[in-house]
């Protein structure tokens, strides 16, 4: 059940520090949107406002609106916990639960969400691991700890864990930056498959990656250190990388900047 994300006038703060300012964009369901920009431009912060993980950091708060289809994530009486059950997330460094087996890692979100029968749980875990292209590698050792896998496998395990709860949106915060090129390729292929079912937003520092996996690309920038990050432009990926409408974008992607 992929959903559309509609952000309008979003400003995020850490305490008194304004991290991003006045961002508006629309992310279509069943598409991949990539966020690029220099370090500190607020693209990760913006990503984290989309599932209210931003609030976990002390002093984190936002102004503005984030609509998931028609539901305002920051509306009155919306529990951030329920937002995160709808909007899954994959992090920069693979972070499987070290004290849990591979099976339990994938089942962790399901166990939070409700009661499943053992056979149901087994089916969903298998489906999720297949969805993350990991099943064949781990099917014989589901009861072994997830931390025993390689980095790339761990990241795919984290993706399986995120998609097991059937989120509407999948956020990925530089999911390949800690991985080798082959594991990166595996994740990129996976993203291509996952966009059939989910709305995907990915932050990346690798512009070739943005060009390879995304349908649309958003460029973020900041005018100076300490200034809030802003959305410079968002457009079809092809256009951003061939003929962007803003000079700063062209400077950034051609390496003349940052």
């Amino acid at each position: 059940m992929a959903k559309r994300i509609d952000v309008s006038g979003l400003t995020a703060y850490y305490g008194s520090h304004k991290a991003i300012e006045d961002i508006s964009m629309t992310v279509e369901p069943r598409s991949v949107t990539a966020f690029i920009g220099p370090s500190g431009c607020g693209k990760s912060t913006f990503l984290r406002t989309l599932n209210r993980m931003h609030e976990v950091t002390a002093g984190g708060r936002v102004e503005g609106k984030v609509l998931l289809d028609d539901e305002d994530l920051y509306g009155q009486g919306i529990d951030p916990v329920s937002v995160r059950r709808e909007v899954g997330m994959v992090f920069q460094r693979p972070n499987p639960f070290p004290t849990m087996s591979i099976f339990d890692n994938v089942a962790a979100g399901l166990r939070l969400n409700g009661n499943y029968k053992k056979s149901e749980l087994g089916d969903i875990v298998e489906k999720s691991l297949k969805g993350a292209n990991l099943w064949n590698e781990v099917k014989d050792r589901l009861n072994k700890p997830g931390s025993g896998l390689s980095g790339g496998q761990q990241q795919r395990l984290c993706i399986a864990r995120a998609i097991a709860v059937e989120p509407n949106v999948l956020l990925m915060d530089e999911p390949c930056s800690a991985l080798d090129p082959i594991s990166t390729l595996a994740i990129e292929d996976l993203i291509g498959e996952l966009k059939e079912r989910f709305t995907i937003v990915i932050v990346t520092h690798n512009m070739q990656q943005a060009a390879r996996v995304s349908d649309r690309t958003a460029f973020f920038n900041l005018s100076a250190v300490g200034q809030p990050g802003k959305l410079i432009e968002i457009d079809e990926t092809e256009r951003i990388f061939s003929n962007p409408s803003v000079q700063a974008t062209e400077d950034y992607i051609s390496g003349r900047f940052g």
């Binding site: 599932n51 993980m53 976990v56 002390a58 916990v81 329920s82 937002v83 995160r84 059950r85 709808e86 899954g88 997330m89 992090f91 460094r93 972070n95 499987p96 639960f97 070290p98 004290t99 849990m100 087996s101 962790a108 979100g109 939070l112 969400n113 700890p145 931390s147 025993g148 984290c158 864990r161 995120a162 709860v165």
Partner: protein
């Protein structure tokens, strides 16, 4: 003459450094500072072992003298009469009292300490964390005799209400029956010990919980975990071995606590089936109260009992290490 001829002839090849020498050179162990430090650290390590062995040897020797003269069974006798001829003494009551009071202390202190540590690391507002942690640190620094006096003067009189209640509702179990008399019993001792070991368990647990990796907590949060679920999924499993170690530190203190127990307990060489009836004793309390007036044999007998306490402590520590090692594969260390 010899020397000059040698010098004019082909000079002997410079000695090739052996592999071991090269390694040593690479380590830099040949520098004087390194050599002095190596000697110092190795020497103090050896000295420590020698002192430990000497103490153990001395204690074992004195204990063996006492045990050989004991007319009763040293492990099972319910009396401590070193002045008799032949002397009769045994540690059964002391072992029972030590273990029971420590178990009571652990049962009370560990859950509370873990709860306080979790509150401080995950629930308390940031500006409260420092002050509360500081107060708990202070509690750990209070001398045990002060706890003992507080226990005797304030805790004991206030226990009558709790004892009456326990006797009324749980008296049928036998463990919580109360035949009146001052509440200077194992339960009071256990409660006082719990208060005494609470700070150390809290502090160590707090450190462990604080080091639970942020990225694992975020993984749980991103799955839609509530704060308690984050603690259950990401913090408690990670801190498990640390909490066990913290508890062992507390248990060590409870097993060996002397003055506080001696001040609060009204000792006797009987095993009370009820935790509420006064009587019993612990190793450390027994040594403290008897040592100054003991004869030579009496002292040796007390040393023998101290050795048993030492063995119990070793066993407990070994058991804890086994528990920690058993699930190492799943420990947070692999993260």
């Amino acid at each position: 003459m010899d020397i000059t001829t040698k010098n004019t002839e082909a000079p002997p090849p410079a000695p090739q450094p052996t592999v071991a020498e090269q390694k040593r050179a690479a380590r830099g162990a040949t520098r004087p500072g390194d050599r002095i430090f190596l000697g110092l650290s190795r020497g103090s390590g050896i000295l420590l072992l020698v002192i430990m062995a000497a103490i153990a040897g001395f204690l074992a020797y004195r204990a063996s003298i006492a045990i050989s003269k004991d007319d009763a069974n040293f492990l099972t006798a319910f009396e401590w009469n070193t002045g008799l001829l032949p002397p009769k003494f045994g540690i059964a009551v002391l072992a029972f009292g030590t273990v029971v009071s420590s178990i009571i202390a652990m049962v009370i202190a560990v859950p509370i300490a873990v709860a306080i540590a979790l509150f401080l690391t995950h629930y308390a507002p940031r500006r409260l964390r420092g002050p509360i942690a500081y107060v708990i640190d202070l509690l750990a620094a209070v001398p045990s005799i002060v706890y003992g006096l507080w226990g005797a003067l304030i805790l004991v009189p206030h226990m009558t209400g709790l004892f009456g209640w326990l006797d009324e509702y749980l008296g049928w179990t036998g463990i919580f029956s109360w035949q009146a008399g001052a509440p200077r019993s194992m339960l009071t001792v256990g409660i006082l010990l719990a208060i005494m070991i609470l700070p150390i368990i809290t502090n160590v647990s707090r450190e462990v919980f604080r080091q639970a990796p942020q990225m694992i907590e975020e993984a749980a949060l991103a799955l839609g975990a509530t704060r308690w679920e984050v603690i259950r999924m990401a913090v408690l499993p990670f801190g498990r071995s640390g909490v066990i170690s913290a508890s062992m530190l507390g248990l060590g203190r409870a097993l060996g606590e002397t003055m506080a127990v001696a001040t609060v307990l009204s000792p006797s060489f009987t095993i009370q089936t009820s935790l509420l009836d006064p009587g019993g004793g612990t190793f450390a309390q027994n040594i403290a109260s008897k040592f100054s007036e003991a004869s030579e044999l009496g002292r040796d007998a007390l040393i023998a009992s101290g050795l048993v306490l030492f063995v119990i402590t070793l066993l407990v520590n070994g058991a804890a290490r086994m528990i920690i090692a058993r699930r190492k594969e799943y420990s947070g260390a692999n993260a």
